[in-house]
Subunit: 265 residues, 2 copies
């Protein structure tokens, strides 16, 4: 059973790398050349481009062909329920706002969950030629220079920690008070990096990421990367983060505990 | 006189490209591998690394050898006054905070001012292999795929504009009120990109950048790039931005006027 399972996992990771290649091939020609930006939010601004849709579409076609009984839960098209235990969780462009600003910190997120629990995850940044992935065998990074295993910075304490979030605008009401209380106790706060910030945490460069109102596909694919690198991810209440909501990621169990305490003071 | 002058300018731009190459060669091996972070600010956190100092040092040595009567005004070492009209304005790593977070949106800024007025400027991002430069002959961009002339997005109006800034933490008191008033009138606000945001403005992807308390070397090298691409740069009061302070950059004269009006309502 164990060896069958690890065979499956290598196969899933290899397949996910292929999905990332295909998504990148769709997106890259449209980076800084994306045509019209559509707004999905009547009351605000939630941009989507042809690149988001083309990338999710190509991944769906490949998954349906290879794993017809797997579910697919993506940002741009309706959810396809799984016949079995496995569901692919896709965000073709996490950080569409960064994408339309020309900032290369967006990423393609590809996760596979087993009975609702994140099993493996890939974050791909094709313009940088960077890819982060994780699962039961560890967390890894590759760029144009090579490939290596990554791990979080275990030494960080709250007062020396670097805190990241995509934008202060994601925090409303009490969430804002809680986030700023955490920020006041950290060394510095950096905004503006979507999924990329979690990968910097997994790489030992950022210590805490705290974000609000995430969707499941914004975070589920990142959980196996963060955890395999030695980090922790929960909601701000310490519960499972796989369904999104207010998410806290930290580089070590000790720092996670300090950060949770500060968020809940 | 005119042809002599344009000869000088091509020579200066070529020399500035060489400085960017040398700075990048110093910095790149230390990106995500920077050793100790020193804090220059007793009351806050103003990080500097060995990479900042090594990059500025190598550029100073080259300038002193080639143009002994030119001045040098850099972030990390004392100002060397010019014997003549020309002064090099250097920020070896603009965005040291991004640098220590592993985020590849920092840049090396190299400007040449003539009698205090920015004449040419270069922004180099060696990890991305991207370079932006500008002067009397236009604004240009190159990356691993090729080279092209760049220009701002002329069509943006305030209500469709993308506004950028490095961090909301740079705005204190009245500055914050003025910035948020501007943001409320734009389509979206994006944080977190230092010099890179001005280059996205010059590339037609971001429409307004408003920042507070900049030092001269944070902005002077970017002015020739923004202006040659069709944009405008002034202080929030409409004055010369070459000495830093509160800086506003916009993609067109019409949008600049709207943004100035909103900042000063």
């Amino acid at each position: 059973m164990t060896s069958d399972m690890s065979g499956d996992i290598s196969e899933f990771i290899e397949f996910a790398h292929g999905l990332a290649d295909s998504a990148g091939a769709e997106i890259l020609p449209m980076f800084r050349n994306f045509g019209e930006v559509e707004n999905k939010d009547q009351d605000g601004f939630d941009p989507v481009t042809a690149a988001d849709r083309a990338a999710e579409r190509v991944m769906r076609v490949e998954i349906e062909a290879r794993y017809p009984d797997h579910g697919i839960f993506g940002e741009e098209f309706p959810r396809r329920r799984a016949a079995g235990a496995y569901e692919w969780v896709l965000d073709p462009i996490d950080g569409t706002r960064a994408f339309i600003c020309g900032l290369p910190l967006w990423g393609t997120l590809i996760g596979l969950s087993e009975n609702g629990k994140p099993l493996i995850g890939v974050m791909d940044q094709p313009y940088l030629g960077e890819r982060f992935w994780g699962g039961p065998d560890g967390a890894f990074f590759r760029n144009r220079q090579g490939e290596k295993e990554i791990s979080t910075r275990k030494s960080a304490t709250l007062d020396t920690a670097i805190l990241g979030a995509t934008t202060p605008e994601m925090f409303e009401g009490e969430d804002a008070d809680r986030f700023y209380a955490l920020g006041k106790n950290c060394r510095m706060t950096r905004y503006g990096a979507d999924c990329y910030m979690y990968c910097m945490l997994a790489s030992g460069l950022v210590d805490i990421v705290a974000e609000a109102r995430l969707k499941p596909f914004d975070i589920a694919p990142l959980i196996p990367i963060i955890e395999a690198a030695g980090g922790c991810v929960t909601t701000w209440d310490g519960a499972d983060a796989g369904n999104g909501g207010n998410v806290l990621a930290s580089c070590s169990p000790a720092l996670h505990e300090s950060a949770l305490r500060t968020l809940n003071m």
